[in-house]
Symmetry: D2
Subunit: 317 residues, 4 copies
């Protein structure tokens, strides 16, 4: 926002920890810092807010911000509970403000190119989608505890990517998974490795595979196969250098981790939000997208628990 | 056998169509041609037979050949019915002859390299396996009618590849699929596009995606992801030439079709069989492997029909 | 400098065209703008200057800036004349200021990685270096007229890259070339396509190929081959997306042009300069490097004119 | 010839070492073996001969075979001396027999594809050609002694490849080189590393780089850059397998050595020769091609010795 989004002006920072807020504000040359975000909502010179707080506070802040007439960018997920999400979305709708959800991967140049190829009809009707999404190493157990579980914390990005790439809604989901990386994750009732199958309304099938630990780095690839061909996006690498010696032909590891791999996408999503606020228009990732991804995460967890496919119909608002 | 397997001598050809048998024998400079394969089994100078007849005759010929004390190479699948397979395997065991099943992809240099990497422990414990297996175009409807269906005709190769790569047995299978390529395939009660999930005994997850029509050619890729890294094999191409012009940087399409892509593997599997017959030893793809792949095909079909995962336990002999 | 070099503060802008200077200053929020750069040199609060004027003014401004005690970053080339370069470098030495020359490609992450591999000894003693450097389209004829010719305008970067990669001085040079892109370039006495061979003091051979027009985009690749292997860097692409259809497997064109391809290197060279000024130390691309590349450009032009190899010995200061 | 060229029948083997001839004949099931090749030329049932003897015998055998009315396939080079080559070619012309020279790389599928792209006009007029040709390890010193030197033994293939790719004659050549691999090669008056620049009649420039030792294997790549784009061919690899672990993303080494890399080309060139003999037509690599490559090798040696470019005009017959 400060360096890379020319049309925005960052007016103030709010953080429940006032010292953090002040330090952050000082670093980026922002005049005001608050402990209570309501101070920020009361400031009539502020047009929009960016919510990066912990997940359990998102829905409430959205409602408050909407009530104050602020446009809203909210990090994913909106909430782990569909009822609270619906209430927040209703507040946004009543207020007529913009709500954009932080599914930044839609703005990754390579993923976006794949989507553009699909949209153009160049590869025909989508039939099979493959998404590989593996983190370099598992989060702390403290984080695992509050994350909502693998499906709502990590796979949720891939659910959104799948919907984005195919441009359809999911009808049925089936998830298998296990604890292969760290038994402590299992003790928290979560899994760290999963394969999820989606069936879209138009018939397309999608498979997502997740791991909390790819020793070679952040592994983020997609492929859409259709009646007229396929489009895929590979990992990104820090350099193109290749070294050949008596043992192998090799390159360096993929960019590691999301801050490196997805930097351009974070900038692009924020620019898109600012444009939406300034110029108007439908946000590229709306509240419904946020809701749908959460619904898929909840359904995936149910599928895993019951070891059977789950239809999405019953999850609507 | 004639040109590329130095230690073997092709003695005779049998085909229910005698004219075909004679023409084939003439082409490859073989003296004897028969309409009835029993003539061949009665020939005591013959050590081994290669069964390439239609699937519904495999089990019976295996039993006859075993009874005649011939070593046997049989194209996949052994049969579409587990009871008949078990009877054939029992006959082989009684006779003490070698039986090798034609899962040639185990001999593909790239797939074999991936297996070698997995076996060496270089990438740790296998956790996720991805197999993409797409044909360039669907077979004739006549063939579809007798093929046993996508899972027993096409995916059966991938089931074997999955077992080969992981080195474990499958415990549970889940299949989704549909008719996206040709409605006529659907009219025959078959599908042409599928995604199948396997859970191995050791916990590893595997996902196979199949299509009867990849317009860009024969798409055959595998990846094994493990606790210590990943190993993958890509498609093979007729040349390495890359052309760059004002529009794109491009290469030619993958080798198309199995005769081109898997030529080295067909030679290698036949050499391995001949070595087994001459020198002794366990065949690299045994009757049990043939049975297991068929069992997975049957289970996949059941999973698709009932839209739920199916456990493999109940399918044992 | 304004957005990406945190430790620097841009104090003023000078341009012989005052309106341009003022517009530029306004855009980037800088208070002062001058038509005469001496105003800037007289400002004792300013530590360093960045010279981006036309080539024929570089040497004079360097001398003036050095006399004023300013540290200097100067765009390549320092000058087209070795005598004027030597005078400017002498002024820098007398003043004891930092002079860094704008050979930004040394800071390209991929080229730098190749250099690091060479430096580490990982590929042994360098024996053959290949540099491909092709522009997407020729510059305007007006620019060609004042550019100093292909060797001093374009190949000069590759001369520096070669010296950087090998870490040695060039002893002999041979250049061939022609007018293949635009006859108007020939009418100006220049060429647009060239192949230049260098022999380094340590024996390593290097070949550079240049074109003013690669229709597929900016083509910038290097390879160092040594007694223990090779290291190479390929072009950079806007996305990793690959599209396969019935005709080809293809990706998009390389990043086009230097502003896109070399953005990270421009930022990195400026940060390195600012660090040099703030913390001290030898600049990573010094005046001698600037001189050596110009000497090679002059020798290449002589080689082309006389159609024979030229030894570098006679070109020393 | 025995296994892969269906329309040919190998009638007899001649070798000055009769035991070798007999052993070879026995291995491939050929009835006749001679110590004196004249026995073979006297056999009127034989249509054509394949000359694979040592280089210094090629020209004489060609003359004898032509006089006997045999069609001739001769391994490269025809001879190291242009006068002897001209005499042999005159004998071939008088006899009206087919002479094909063994520049097998023209039949490599990837190089041929590049040539086809150039011929089609798809990349416009050729402007720059790059050929990298590096052996995995140097030959024995005994071989170096009789090889005719790097240019006539190794680079000669690349000279032919360059002429093949561009479809023009070379006007000027410049060679630099040195002894970097093995001092013993230098003691024999030869070099082991070289960079050669060619200027074609149509203006195109070509650069060839050679080394007798690439520790990572046989390195054989070409690129043609033209007014409308570029076409390149990369090395060939035994498998497509890629392994990623915590240290690198790597593949295996290129195919090593010519017998592996160029197997398909050896078969294809022999088929083309046999077709020429059977059906008629101009051989794809004629005596003039053999002569031109030798002339370039001689000129390269002269250029290296005199350290200046050499024009090819004076080398004509």
């Amino acid at each position: 926002l400060v360096h890379n989004v020319p049309c925005a002006h960052l007016a103030a920072v709010a953080d429940t920890d006032l010292v953090s807020a002040q330090r952050c504000a000082a670093e980026i040359n922002v005049a005001r810092a608050w402990a209570d975000y309501h101070a920020l909502l009361d400031d009539t010179t502020i047009d929009a807010v960016v919510i990066c707080s912990s997940t359990d506070t998102h829905a409430r802040i959205i409602e408050d911000a909407a009530a104050a007439g602020k446009h809203i960018f909210c990090e994913k997920p909106i909430d782990l509970d569909l009822v609270r999400i619906d209430r927040a979305l209703a507040a946004v709708e009543r207020a007529g403000v913009v709500l954009q959800v932080g599914f930044n991967r839609r703005f990754d140049p390579s993923f976006k190119k794949v989507r553009d190829v699909v949209s153009s009809g160049e590869i025909g009707v989508p039939e099979i989608v493959r998404i590989t999404s593996r983190d370099p190493s598992p989060p702390s157990i403290d984080y695992v505890r509050v994350s909502g579980g693998l499906f709502l914390d990590m796979t949720i990005h891939d659910f959104d990517t799948a919907r984005f790439l195919v441009g359809q809604e999911v009808e049925e989901i089936y998830a298998v998974g296990g604890v292969m990386v760290d038994p402590a994750i299992g003790l928290e009732g979560d899994i760290d490795t999963a394969v999820v199958t989606l069936r879209f309304a138009g018939g397309a099938l999608c498979v997502i595979d997740n791991s909390r630990r790819a020793v070679y780095g952040y592994d983020q690839r997609v492929e859409v196969f259709g009646s007229g061909g396929s489009a895929s996006a590979d990992n990104c690498y820090p350099t193109s250098a290749v070294v050949s010696d008596a043992h192998s032909v090799r390159r360096d590891l993929p960019l590691n981790f999301f801050l490196e791999r997805y930097t351009p996408s974070y900038i692009a999503e924020m620019r898109a939000f600012v444009d939406c606020v300034r110029i108007g228009g439908v946000p590229p990732v709306g509240g419904d997208d946020g809701r749908a991804a959460t619904a898929l995460g909840i359904a995936a967890a149910e599928s895993l628990r019951r070891d059977r496919p789950v239809r999405l119909a019953g999850l609507g608002p």
